[in-house]
């Protein structure tokens, strides 16, 4: 690579570092700020005196958080949802991607299934009928309402199907020669080969489960059943919508709601994402690129 060595080029390259550095900082700043607020003194945070460093550094908001029963209940609901929902998503993805990756001349109904799948992905009946079906099935206020309706991640099925199709045919034929059935083929050959791709789609579905709040809000009537994001939504966002309240109500809520405590809750709810993030990053570029490989 030929690189220009004029002073203009050097200056240009130097400013590239500065620009990229500033953009990165802008991405981190709001998160950093929230951490700083969570570690600040209550009065300083309420007066908006916190900028980039905690004012009056202390852990009291986290200590207070430990006594908050509701927070832990919601955290538990979210953990359950991630475990059960992630497992269901994983099972449905592999169980559906494999048959759909078969060629249509060997598996006649393949295209019919495929059309149904794609149709459900592109067309939805809308919120109200969807809600009414879940209500009619008496799933409201149960864990199933959070994991069953989204149990088939259609887009992930298609991604993995494309990946399965890219697996060399010789491998399959060799196994078929030895008399391997479909289940053996899927679990002993296809899944081990596609572990990175599977890890990607599973991590994405886990992050999706952790982050979703709206289904928790409309499908759970009791706040004890709220997953963490719904709980935080009620606490942090709804309270900010003060236009519906009169001044007395606003004052009252300001006194109860503690900015530092809320910040601490936000920080704790981000931690699981930050933990899986390095793994996500290792896999996702690979996963996205492989999903776009066309036959």
């Amino acid at each position: 690579m030929v690189r220009a060595q004029t002073w203009q080029a050097k200056l240009g390259y130097g400013s590239l570092f500065v620009i990229l550095g500033i953009i990165s900082l802008l991405c981190l700043a709001p998160i950093w700020y929230t951490i700083a607020v969570s570690l600040s003194e209550k009065s300083a945070a309420a007066a908006n005196a916190v900028t980039l460093l905690p004012v009056g550094f202390n852990w009291s908001s986290y200590e207070k958080l430990l006594e908050d029963q509701k927070f832990f209940t919601a955290f538990g609901v979210s953990l359950q949802r991630v475990a059960l929902g992630g497992l269901l998503n994983f099972l449905m993805t592999v169980l559906m991607a494999y048959p759909l990756s078969r060629e249509a001349n060997k598996f006649r109904s393949r295209n019919v299934y495929m059309w149904i799948l794609v149709f459900t992905m592109l067309f939805s009946a809308g919120l109200i009928p969807w809600y009414m079906v879940i209500q009619k099935l008496h799933l409201l206020d149960t864990m199933w309402a959070l994991v069953l309706p989204g149990a088939v991640p259609v887009f992930n099925v298609i991604l993995l199907m494309n990946f399965f199709r890219g697996i060399p045919k010789d491998l399959e034929e060799a196994a078929a020669m030895d008399g391997a059935g479909h289940l053996y083929m899927l679990f002993k050959i296809f899944i081990p080969i596609s572990l990175p791709a599977l890890a990607t789609v599973t991590l994405f579905s886990i992050v999706g489960h952790w982050n979703s709040f709206f289904d928790g809000l409309i499908l759970m009537n009791h706040s004890n059943n709220y997953p963490l994001q719904t709980y935080i939504q009620q606490l942090v966002v709804q309270i900010n919508d003060m236009s519906r309240m009169n001044p007395d109500e606003i004052k009252q809520i300001m006194q109860i709601s503690s900015k530092t405590l809320n910040a601490a809750k936000i920080v704790i709810s981000m931690i699981p994402i930050l933990i899986v993030y390095p793994f996500l990053q290792r896999f996702f570029i690979h996963g996205i690129v492989l999903g776009s490989v066309k036959e």
Partner: protein, 293 residues
């Protein structure tokens, strides 16, 4: 035949779930044509023909809601195409591998955080006595009620959405850039092309197919203005500039319990979106030879 039985059985659980949670609601959407009464249910509620749809076009809200949806979605689409492109061009010039990688790690992160959390932070930063207004006042400017101001609200939506997603959206451009043959740059440099000229004549043409593909696929999204974000940021004072189809359906249907009307609006959105997606896929196939299945 017997061998394929296993394949059918593998598909069965997933298909059953799709039937219950995707196909059944489609049948249930007939209540868009009913004067729906929950006590009577779908089977016994009286039919009302197109009444819900004609009513939808009569109420003043609907024009505003449709306009907001289109405007916000288009603003986000444009910004979502341009900003990641510019950022990918910048990042592509960076030769120091560890620095480039650290920048990528940082800018992808907001994509994985939920709108609940980010909205909580945004509402705090932009509140009347929040940090942004503090900064404005040090420059001698008057504080702004950002979250209840109809001039600002759409820009805040677009800006925060871009902030959250631009990093992640650069991935696809960067993937296309890794395919550039370095000898193209060398040839351009020998011909005396400076960096800016190299970007214009080598880098951008390489990215053009990707840009066209992304723009085409975006057609399917012009009715998706981003429910999660708006739901967590808006309030009645900014309905005028920020209320979209999805938030309107939620309020009319689940809060005010006008089931028939809300279903009709939602159904119309679904049908139009579906047609747009079909068109965009057709175009993407035609121009970029792109197929998802």
């Amino acid at each position: 035949m017997k061998k394929n039985m296993t394949l059918h059985l593998m598909l069965l659980p997933g298909m059953a779930i799709l039937f219950v949670f995707a196909i059944l609601p489609m049948l249930g959407a007939v209540i868009a044509f009913q004067d729906f009464n929950p006590a009577l249910g779908v089977t016994r509620s009286p039919w009302s023909g197109w009444a819900n749809f004609t009513f939808m076009f009569q109420i003043p809200d609907s024009k505003q809601v449709f306009t907001n949806t289109l405007v916000i979605a288009c603003m986000k689409i444009i910004s979502g195409l341009v900003v990641p492109l510019l950022f990918a061009l910048l990042l592509n010039e960076m030769r120091l591998a560890w620095f480039k990688k650290s920048v990528q790690t940082i800018v992808y992160l907001p994509h994985f955080l939920s709108w609940v959390i980010l909205s909580g932070i945004v509402l705090d930063l932009l509140s009347y006595d929040g940090i942004i207004n503090h900064i404005l006042s040090t420059f001698g400017l008057n504080p702004i009620m950002f979250m209840s101001n109809n001039h600002w609200f759409r820009w805040i939506l677009v800006f925060t959405d871009t902030w959250k997603e631009f990093g992640f959206n650069t991935i696809i451009y960067l993937a296309a850039l890794t395919g550039i043959n370095p000898s193209l740059y060398e040839a351009a440099a020998i011909d005396g092309a400076a960096r800016m000229k190299q970007i214009r004549h080598v880098t951008l043409p390489t990215l053009l197919p990707t840009i066209i593909l992304l723009a085409t696929l975006a057609i399917g999204n012009v009715l998706n203005a981003g429910f999660d974000q708006i739901f967590n940021l808006y309030n009645p004072l900014v309905y005028e500039s920020g209320d979209i189809i999805d938030t309107y359906v939620y309020r009319t249907g689940l809060i005010e319990q006008q089931y028939g009307l809300a279903t009709a609006i939602g159904l119309m959105k679904s049908v139009v979106s579906f047609l747009l997606i079909i068109v965009s896929y057709r175009l993407a196939y035609k121009f970029a030879n792109y197929r998802i299945f």
